[in-house]
Amino acid sequence: MMSLFRRWSFLLLLFIAVLSILAPFSLSVSPNQEVAPPFSTPLWLKRNLPPTMKITLSENILKKNIAWPYNPPTQIHLSGEITLSVPSALVLETPTQKFVLHHLTVGKNTFDIDGRDLSFKQRLNFSPFAQIPSELFSEKGEYIFRVEPDFSAPPEMRGTITFDIKGGRWGLLGTDQRGRDIFSLFIAGIRVSLIVGISATLLASLLGLFFGLISGYAGGWTDTIIMRGVDILLSIPILPILMVLAAYWGKGLWQLVLILSLFSWMGTARTVRAMTLSLRDSSYIEGLRGLGAPTFYILWRHLLPETLPLLLANIALGVPGAILAEAGISFLGLSDPRIISWGRMLHEAHSFGAFTRGAWWMLLPPGLGITLLCLIFLDLGKFLEEQIDPQLKGALKQ
């Protein structure tokens, strides 16, 4: 067993499991919380994007200078609740141009304008497809944001105007289409993929073991019935069953595990049955039966330990299948949107256009995460297989 602990896959699995257990406490930001504008890029991506800024004008400060050495921001938002003594305009002066953002009337004004509103684009007579932030902040240099009276008299103003300039940069892996932090989603995703992968395969293997042993040992009618049952289950495609069961049982995590295990035990059952058949006729089992040992005793004390190593290898190799099945199911939209799993993240990134947006930092982490988890279990499976059958030791052993 010792050599197991030195294996890279085991250590990595341990690390990931610990990470997913610590996740809820250690993460500063909860996965479901909206933290930044959607599709913001990660901080380390050197696209020279500006930091998020908030510029406010109030009673005595009617003018603010902004030094702007950056590329254009991704989002701007203008909001305020003010009362004015004189009609004036909210103006943004760029090094070369001057834009009137909003006309303010005498008395009370409340407004909430976003760079993406079509009406705002039309008011500044840009094309409906223009990106306002890059039109306004197109050059680097000195910008002035101020309330400019229509006529000469300086206005008195009560209340505040806030000008949010969002840099569109956030955290380690940016944000998804709902502005949630992808990194915390990624960490939270481990839990589901692990739980689904391991528990589905465990359940399937137990079912397979149970049916395999019984049909192998009992033989005769029970054997044919179970084997025909296996044939029937194998010839029904999983897809519609999942939809019917998902529609009936609802879409929780454990329903998914149950459905997955219900449809992957047949393989194990067949291998266990084959093994039991060959062991059943071996001399020492024959001898035990001769001594009058009850069937249960024979199964439990003798046949089970024989099949165990094979089972372990089977489990380890089954987990990747379950993880990929979960990713496939969420790709078809059958999984519960509230459960954060890598499969779900990959699907949402794909359907909200991450590929066309070139947002590889949204696609690679879950995709590679799934692959890594599968590789780990494959390696463990191979290790266990080699324990059972040393010849298989390939050149991989370092």
Partner: protein
Amino acid sequence: MTEMKSYWWRRIAGSLLVLFVVLILNFFLFRLMPGDPVATMLDPRFSPEAKAELSKLYGLDKPLSFQFLLYLKQMITFNFGYSFLTGRTVWEELATRLPNTITLLGSALLLSAFLGTWLGIQAALKRGKWIEKIVLWSGAVSFSFPSFFVQLLLLLIFAYAIPLFPLRGSVSVPPPIGFWAQLTDHIWHLILPVGSLVLLGFGGWALYVRNLMVKVLSEDFILMGEARGLPEKHIVWNHAFRTLLPPLLTIFLLSLPGIISGAVITETVFSLHGVGRFLLEAITGQDYPSAGASFYLLALLTIFCNLAADLLYGIVDPRVRFERRGR
């Protein structure tokens, strides 16, 4: 030879039983699913009476038992009635799609099986060399990469960034004239989809064949082959591979039905007109006749493959044939 025949009759009877149970399950499967297909034709211009008239057309208002008998007749006579979604007969829908899916999945399966087998054998022969490393790693990778992730990446790189292959469909528009021009154009279109499926599939084969081959090569009769002064290539192919053939063929046949699910994703990403996509749409769209027909065909394919695998195993491996006769 009588025991042989009785064995086969029992096997065929078993399969027919399985088919019948599958038919019943399929029938109730869709009636169980909540929802009513006509309801999905949501259109303000459809008055309630119009909708009622439609469901009468599709025979949905008849009692369940009548629908079941109708269903059985349709399945056995292979005319599957009208698809709710398209109004055309289901057979027509399948007929236009089956060739695409068969060429896609058929060639992908054959290529990955051959490539995988050849690589598996080389890996077993040259233990410890780089080729074994490749096979072990490619086997692992092909088990763990989510398929649409890989396929979209391939599409982006080899069809968009480097315009080597076409972006979509199985024929360019407007289509070239002349049989050979169309054939090469069709093959040119299928290189990327089939290539991606092979990339995802050959690893599994290579790993499986390598493990089998390692076992066979350690057998005594291989040593005896060398003792008989036979050339190495002859031993590998006529003795080692020949013993490997039966399990390989069975796995090949048993994996046939399983690859249908791969079609759904590949056909979406590469915009191919196939059964996979049609299947998914029929399910989500409550299109009973089309979905029922597709599953009936899939069940038939699975049962046929199981039977064929049994038959072939007997032919290819004399031991099994002898064993059956004895029992």
